[in-house]
Each structure stands twice: as structure tokens, then as C-alpha cells.
Symmetry: C2
Subunit: 495 residues, 2 copies
């Protein structure tokens, strides 16, 4: 199949450039000496530009058409047919946006991010406002490069969740919102101070070693991955045979390293599980940000914050930190790891309140894109929703509307993926209990083989082969639904 | 100057790709998980190929010509004139060798390296012989792509020492050989067993911290560099603002980490000292391998193995390793760090015998290229020279002719650069004492500012702007000469 091989070679070269740019980004965040920032910027810019230029080249368009003709007998769900279809989809998207616009956007968000950092530091929304207005304008112009969609926001969402409709997200949120708000209200009556043993001084190497034991038990493959430290934890797959995670050590916050490691390991297990057959094609990596987040949340929350998990692992943690955890029980630790406490900051939010932070943002960005909300009115709208959902009012914009980098970076359509991740994780979790009733008993024995094998077979191996809705439906016999997630939350926190 | 700017942009992009390939190589040798080898190979191959393709493109040729016309009024030694001249030289060399030949060479040396490793493990030269014959044949064919030179080896040498002639190397070696052999013969009468305190068990973190203190005192800039561990120590500059070195810890060989760190720091100080004006041009990096090696040897040997150095640093080392060095004096340590002991293996050779290992190889290489020696006769020729120069006969070919990877990798013309490094280092060292008579007194105070400033000003800042002979002559008022080196050796070891 010469046309198919030609397409593979052309796309393979683009993937090599992207892998290189990713590895350089990893290095920048993990080991780069401070003054290396300029040379890293130069390398990244050249690699990303060449990858883009070579991907939108006419010869890729021709190769796609030729490969499609050549493989017309392949079943539509075969690796080959999906590889060609997804390449065609990516090519179509990449070629619609003119280079001038891409350059304008890069310059606009660069200035916006810079000013956002300053505005947040000074809690001065007015400083950021003109920049955000430009970004919103860019996003609305971006939408116009694409065929008319049911909702303009569909085009933005599609960057992160291929094929997902705004109407589906709205419906999902409409089901989640009332029950999550009610749950938080109910919990707010409980006094919940943080456990005293969490403020003991822990040793970083001890917690690091424990966290490594945990993710090794999960199935993290150290021959095909590594763990380092960085300011902001992240996971990065340079192909499925080199998947790297980072974590951070914050003095006084022992849980941050533990759950951060499990979270990033969840992303990494996904990347390590993508079939080698898809390597160097557009199908490698995760299906969407939401599906990716479902894997990090599954290991962090559904496994790592569960009672059976701590039944098994607490004695091991206690053996590593005997003085800090003297007299503490597995149940004490489980409770401490699941404390619900409405707060102003998304990244510090607990499992029960997190989605409300996300919904607030998605609703506001929808309104900005629809034109029903002006940027100037954003802080008031933010604060009103915080009060409505979490019963809190930010003392200033730094702890409110200015807290996240996303909008300044032009990431509209991104926030929803966090909630999708929570929802899909619970849906998979519930399905897994149907096919493997010993799910919780396995966890209590520290045994994760059946779970990982199931995720590999049902989800990981497929990479980007299927769109999120199709993938979830294949595995759970239902499109994405919030029911399992709400049941999980209500059972865990309502009891 | 639009043509000059165009040339800068085109070459800058090539340099970005080379920087990226270098960083990926660093990663491969330092932090890559074992199974990442395939994806690293793919990235490297694509980046190196694109860098080559883009550098030999016709548009670079045209840009060179246009920039040359545009800048014809610039003095010939100006940055701009030299940048254009060296780019033209590199372009001419890169475009002479056909892509087919490059591919054939890559395949041949890949197979040769693989077989060499096996042949060395089994000490079976016959296994390696047909591969080495192919490599020698390739090298002789390579020479034919270039205009006739005074000696065919000139073309090979030029890869590593631009502009240096085989006749110059031969003359240099002819002066060195008899006096070095005589010195070794004289020293061979002295019984010299290794100092007992070197076989005490040392702690890696203590020696690491000491070595870091030493190179920090040398002037290594940690804002623009870092140090890690790897199996084979190396230095790599990704531009002068991100220069990385590695060292290794060998149980039972405490000096290996200390002198290895100083050696690689010498390379790094050179790279860090290249002027930012030359960044992203072909003039960044070192002038030649020999000049580069002169910097590593200067800091490792002329500074690091000197008496004043240990007068200052031994008490600090003793404070870090009090039990291992109890009762040891600075002079004891100095003597132990300068033990002369003829041995079979180049990479383990001391300062006094090292050059003889190199000369032997260069002489054999020259004979192979000239056609006066057949590959089949190489082991005998090797062993005869080992006896003549060092009074030793290898027990087998693994410890003789098969010990180095260079020939299997096609690196003909490379070995001479090690000896050039030693010779040039001593020549610079002698010159520095003339301009700064307090040279040794400074070292005894642990003060290296004047030395580093002088090296920066005279040598480092120029990068590849001048060819080795021109550079050495500018600094020392003499072309490369072995006299200072021989005087240094005879004074240090003859006394």
C-alpha cells in the first residue's frame, strides 16, 4: 500500500517533531538551568512551526486522499481507516486557520498572559480586561473559520473533546448542578477541621518512596517512564514508551505529593497503554482531555481516596512515617483524605466541590462567546455564582475571576474537560464493578492487575481511535451520563 | 542588511534543530527510561536529517553569496565576515558529500560498531576485520569528494581541526615522541604503587559536593548549566546559556569523579564563555576538538593536578572525608593524583603516558589511509608499538587494538585532537604565566578569576571564529608547539 506508507512517513515525521518539542518542554519544566529559557524558546518555536508547516502541506492532503482510495475496502472501525479519518479531520482543522491569524493569536495571548500574571498579583481586573476582550474577540473570529455549528462554542469544545456538542455539556451540567449544590449545602453543616496529623512534619523521601510503591502497584512501567519534581505537576508522553510524570513537595501538605503522584500516574498509565501499532500516527495519545482526566481521576479519587485502598496502604504509610502517624487508624486517614470544605480556589478544591468551580467557569465562558455577557461584567457574574454554588464570596479578584491562567492563554472550551473527567471516571468505575464484582476486594489486597488490564483492553489501547462519546458508549453501553458520578458522590459523602 | 538577515534566519533554524537534537542526546544519556530508545532514535534521525537537508539547500548557498556581496566592506576578521566565511566553508563541505554516500556510511558504521562490541567482548579481531576494511575504504572514498590535498588524511583531520595539516601533526609528534618515551623509561624505574588512602570507601555525596565546590570556584555558572550523572561523562552545550556536564561515580575510584568533573567543567567553561553575539550562528561552540580538549585538560591537569591547587583544596577535601584522609597530607594527595604508571588502556592512562597511546593510534591510522598498512596486519603493528612506546604487550586484542570505539564509528582523524589538547593547554598555560606571574599564587588561594577572565577574553568568546592555528598564534605569538608541554612534563615528572 504505497499511498498509505507515504502518508505514514509524512505524518511520522510530524510526530517526531512534536515528540521532540514535547521532550524539550518537559526539560524546560524539570531540569533546564534558569538562563536556558531563550534557547529553549527558540527550539520549541522552530519545532512547533516546522511540525505545523509540514502537517498542512499540500502533499499531506494528497496523501490522505490517495490513502483513502487505496484502503476503501477496510472496515470503517479498523486502525487504518480510523487513522486516515482522524488525520483528515486534523488536517482539515489545521488548514482552515490562516497563518496570519495563528500569529496574531500567539502575540495576543502572550501579551494577555503576561498582563494576567501582573493583574492577579495586584488583584486588578481592569488591567486585564482589555486583553481578555481581545482574546474573546479572537475566539469568536476563530469560530468563523469553521462551518456553522449548532452552537459557536462547539468549535472551541471540539479542540479538546472531538465531536462533543455544547448541548450535551449543557444537559450534563443541568443534571449535575442541583444535586451537587444540594450535597454541598448538606455537608456545610458538618464541622470539618483538617486532621492534626496532617500538619506534622513529614519527610519528603519517605512520602516519595511510599507514592512510588503505590503507583508501582498500580502498574506504572518504570522501563517506559520516570518521575521527577516540578513546580506544577504534569504528565507527558513522548510516545507510549517514554511517559514521564512529575510531582511536587509542599512543606506542610503531605497529601499533595501522594494524590498528585496518583493523579499524574493515572494520565501516564493511559499513555503507556496506547497500542504500539498507533505509534507515530495521529492516533497515539489520549482520545480527549476529558477521557484523559477520567483516567487521572479514576486512580487518584476512585481508587486512591477509597476506603479499601487505605485499608491496604495505610499500614505501609504508617510504617514509613511511624512518628507522624502514631495512633492514627486507616479510617482516620481515609476521613482526612476525603474532607469536604468549600473554598475559593479551584486547584485546592476537594472531590465534592470541584465540579461547581468548573461549571461556573464554563457557564461564564459560554456567555462570553454567545455575547450575552460583557468582559467588564465578568467579576460580578463570577462572584454571584460563587455565592450561589458554594456559599462563598471572594475577598478580591485575585482569589476570584483572576485565579486561573486558562482564559489569558486562550483556552476557551478547556474547563469542561475537568468535569467530564470526573463524570466519565465514575461511569467507567461503575461499569467495571459490573464486569468485575471483586473490584473493591482487589483494591483491599493492593491488587490492580484486573483493573489495569480492563482499562488497557477497553480504553487505553485505542488511543485517539474513537471519539469520546463513541468510546464511552462502547465500554459502558451508555453515552456520557452523570448518574454514576452523582450516585458515587451521594453515597460517599451523603452517608 | 537584508541578505545577511536572511542568512542568519536560515542558519538559525538549522541551529535550532541541532540544539534540539543535542538536548535529546543529552536526555538519552542521562534521564531516558530504557525503552525510550526507539522514540529517541526516531526524533534524532528526523532532526539531524532536517538540519542537514535545510543546511545544504540551494537557498543557503544563494544567501551566503548575497550576504558576502552585501558585507564586502567588513574587515575580514569581523564577526560578520568570519560568520559568512565559516558558513560558506561548512556549506561547501556539507554539499560535496552525496546523500547516498552518507546513507551508506551510516549503515556501514552502524554494523561495524555493533560487531566491534561483540569482537571486543570475545577479543576476536578477525570478526571485526572485514568491517574495519569497509570503514577504511569508506574513509578513502570520502577523501575523494574533496579537492586534492597535500595528504589525503588532511581531509579527515579537517573535520575536527579546521585547517590543520597532516604534515604539522607529523612534525609535532616527531618532536614529542622521543622525549616522552625517554621520560616514561626514566620513570619506569621508580616503584609506584597506588596510595592506600585511595582505596578507602568514600561517600559519593561528599565527593560530589567537594567537586561542585571546586568547579564553582573555577567559575562554572549554575544559572547557565547543570551537572548530572551518566555512564560516560560528557559535556554538552545547547548554546552558551545551557551547558550541561555529567560525571560518574565508580566505587573504589574516588579520583575518577573529582578529575572527571574538573575535565568536563573545563569543556563547559569554554562553551559558557562563547560570546552571545555568535549564538544561533555556525560560530557558536568550540573552535576545534583540540582547542576544546585544551580547555578540559587545562582545568583538569594544569590546574587540578597542580601542587598549589591541592595546597588550597586538600584541607577542604579532608574536612569532607575526615576518616578516609586521616593523617594524609596535601603533598601525599598531590603525589597520589599524579602517579605515573604505564598501562594498556588509553582511557585509564595518566598525564605522562597518555600521548603515547594517542600517537600510536594516529600513526596506525595514517598508515591505513596511506595504504602502507593492511587492516589484517593492524594487531601486530599495534602490539609492536605498545612495546616500543610503553614497554608493554597486550595479553589479547580486547586490551589492545580493539579497545576503542572510534574506528568502528568511522572517526578517523579524531585521536590526534587529544594530544593537540594537551599540547595547546600547556602552551596557553605558559603564556598565561607570562601575562600573569601570580598564576600559581592565585591557585594556592583558590582564586581563578584572572585565569578565567583571560581565557574568556583571549579564547572562549571567539567560538569558531578563528581556526586553531590562527587562534593559538593570536594568543601565544607562536603556532602550536610542543615545547611548553614537554618542559611542563619534564619539570613535573623529571624532578
Amino acid at each position: 500500500m504505497p499511498a498509505l506508507e507515504r502518508l505514514r512517513a509524512l505524518v511520522g515525521e510530524v510526530m517526531d517533531l512534536k515528540h521532540a518539542a514535547d521532550l524539550i518542554e518537559w526539560d524546560e519544566r524539570v531540569y533546564m538551568p534558569p538562563n536556558g529559557v531563550t534557547v529553549h524558546g527558540e527550539m520549541s518555536a522552530t519545532l512547533r512551526r516546522l511540525a505545523h508547516e509540514r502537517f498542512i502541506a499540500q502533499e499531506i492532503g494528497s496523501a490522505i486522499e490517495a490513502a483513502r482510495r487505496e484502503t476503501s475496502a477496510e472496515p470503517p472501525d479498523s486502525d487504518v481507516a480510523r487513522m486516515i479519518a482522524v488525520t483528515a479531520r486534523d488536517y482539515d482543522k489545521a488548514t482552515r486557520v490562516p497563518a496570519d491569524f495563528v500569529a496574531e493569536q500567539a502575540a495576543t495571548v502572550s501579551a494577555a498572559q503576561h498582563t494576567w500574571a501582573q493583574a492577579r498579583a495586584e488583584s486588578d481586573f481592569a488591567l486585564f480586561q482589555p486583553h481578555l476582550e481581545k482574546v474573546v474577540d479572537l475566539k469568536r473570529r476563530y469560530v468563523e473559520f469553521f462551518p456553522p455549528a449548532a452552537h459557536p462554542y462547539d468549535v472551541l469544545l471540539d479542540e479538546y473533546e472531538p465531536g462533543l456538542q455544547t448541548s450535551e455539556v449543557k444537559q450534563l451540567f443541568a443534571q449535575l448542578r442541583p444535586r451537587q449544590v444540594a450535597l454541598i449545602r448538606a455537608l456545610a453543616d458538618r464541622p470539618a477541621s483538617a486532621a492534626a496529623f496532617l500538619s506534622a512534619p513529614y519527610s519528603e523521601p519517605d512520602l516519595w518512596a511510599f507514592a512510588v510503591d503505590v503507583i508501582t502497584a498500580f502498574g506504572f512501567d518504570w522501563e517506559r517512564g520516570r518521575q521527577d519534581k516540578s513546580v506544577h505537576p504534569f504528565a507527558m508522553g513522548i510516545g507510549s514508551d517514554d511517559v514521564r510524570i512529575t510531582t511536587r513537595w509542599v512543606e506542610g501538605q503531605p497529601l499533595s505529593l501522594l494524590f498528585g503522584t496518583m493523579h499524574e500516574a493515572g494520565h501516564a498509565l493511559y499513555e503507556q497503554g496506547v497500542s504500539g501499532r498507533l505509534h507515530r500516527t495521529v492516533l497515539e495519545g489520549g482520545a480527549s482531555l476529558g477521557i484523559h482526566e477520567s483516567q487521572s481521576r479514576l486512580w487518584e479519587n476512585l481508587v486512591g481516596r477509597s476506603r479499601p485502598f487505605w485499608e491496604h496502604f495505610f499500614p505501609k504509610l504508617q510504617a514509613r512515617c511511624p512518628s507522624q502517624l502514631a495512633g492514627v487508624t486507616a479510617d482516620d486517614f481515609y476521613q482526612a483524605a476525603n474532607r469536604v470544605h468549600p473554598s475559593l480556589i479551584r486547584v485546592e478544591a476537594d472531590e465534592a466541590t470541584y465540579n461547581l468551580h468548573v461549571m461556573l467557569r464554563v457557564e461564564l465562558e459560554l456567555a462570553l462567546i454567545e455575547g450575552s455577557l460583557e468582559v467588564a461584567d465578568l467579576p460580578d457574574a463570577w462572584n454571584a455564582r460563587m455565592e450561589e454554588y458554594l456559599g462563598l464570596t471572594p475577598p478580591d479578584d485575585a482569589k476570584g475571576v483572576l485565579q486561573d491562567i486558562h482564559w489569558s492563554a486562550g483556552l476557551f472550551g478547556y474547563f469542561a474537560t475537568y468535569t467530564l473527567g470526573n463524570v466519565i471516571a465514575a461511569q467507567l468505575w461503575s461499569r467495571f464493578a459490573e464486569v468485575h464484582p471483586a473490584r473493591d476486594a482487589d483494591i483491599e489486597r493492593g491488587e490492580f492487575t484486573v483493573l489495569l488490564d480492563w482499562l488497557r483492553r477497553e480504553l487505553h489501547q485505542h488511543g485517539r481511535k474513537f471519539e469520546p462519546q463513541q468510546l464511552v458508549t462502547r465500554i459502558t453501553n451508555s453515552p456520557i451520563t452523570p448518574e454514576p458520578y452523582l450516585r458515587y458522590l451521594e453515597q460517599k459523602y451523603g452517608s
